[in-house]
């Protein structure tokens, strides 16, 4: 990873909380009804694709393990709503052969209000 990418903000991505996808997500994680709180990870990955593909960051995604995760919700997601997802690189650290990438992602609703903030630690092994 290139440490000078620290602080980079990636372009906004639109994510629809598609009811069919929510239902499929519920089936996989075993929640009976409602929007599973960790459905937010689908919104994150809509934005992470630009991070994974970013030549300026040069992350080797096939060597990445998930180190830790945090979600802080202002409100629950609503099926059918349109969210704007923005990811930035909070920090890049290298400890020996292992790289630590911390991403912070904000999900905002169509009224501009914050819905959820996530913090993702990716660990790049070599």
């Amino acid at each position: 990873m290139n440490p000078s990418a620290q602080g980079k903000i990636y372009p906004d991505v639109t994510f629809i909380v598609d009811p069919a996808r929510v239902a499929a997500f519920r089936d996989v994680v075993g929640q009976r009804d409602g929007v599973p709180p960790t459905f937010v990870s689908a919104a994150e990955f809509a934005a992470f694709q630009d991070v994974i593909d970013d030549p300026a960051l040069a992350l080797d995604f096939s060597k990445v393990l998930h180190g830790s995760q945090e979600y802080v919700y202002e409100r629950a997601l609503v099926e059918g709503e349109r969210l704007t997802v923005r990811t930035r690189i909070e920090s890049i650290r290298q400890r020996g052969e292992v790289g630590f990438l911390t991403l912070v992602t904000d999900l905002t609703g169509s009224d501009g209000g914050l819905v959820c903030t996530t913090r993702t630690l990716m660990v790049e092994r070599t």
Partner: protein, 140 residues
């Protein structure tokens, strides 16, 4: 809901189909989850489950207990062990604190391997906003 209350544990056996289905619904198509050869090159026995699959299982355990209409304010956790096909994962938790209308649950996901307890999710935490609906222990 009471401080020190233990949540009912939630157990599932992880299959290859589960991992592929989670890749589809989450959009996380890291080859470690889909391609045995890539996973073996990285030192695993075969494909591994997404960390978020195990954390989602933890959240399902907490939500099943609290009720799907309970507002989840925060979820966090550290991934400390990988989960492979055929592993049995067990999620559980305990109410650490209730302050005002907020309950904090210490939650985790364990797997038993070679007689040892490993922790796919360690130091998990789920903060719930307790609404007007009061629920008895044991679930909705």
């Amino acid at each position: 809901m009471n401080v020190d209350e233990e949540l009912p544990r939630l157990t599932r056996v992880v299959t290859r189909d589960d991992i592929r289905a989670y890749a589809d619904v989450s959009g996380d198509r890291n080859a470690l989850h889909l391609d045995d050869d890539v996973a073996r090159q990285e030192g695993f026995d075969g494909v591994i489950a997404h960390g978020m699959f195990t954390m989602a299982h933890m959240a399902t355990c907490v939500v099943a207990w609290a009720g799907t209409d309970t507002f989840v304010e925060r979820i966090s956790g550290h991934f400390r062990a990988t989960v492979g096909v055929g592993d049995t994962i067990v999620a559980g938790g305990r109410v650490r604190a209730i302050e005002g209308d907020r309950a904090t649950v210490d939650a985790w996901v364990q797997v038993q391997r070679d007689g040892q307890t490993e922790w796919p999710v360690r130091k998990g935490e789920v903060v719930l906003k307790i609404g007007g609906v009061r629920r008895s222990a044991g679930g909705p």
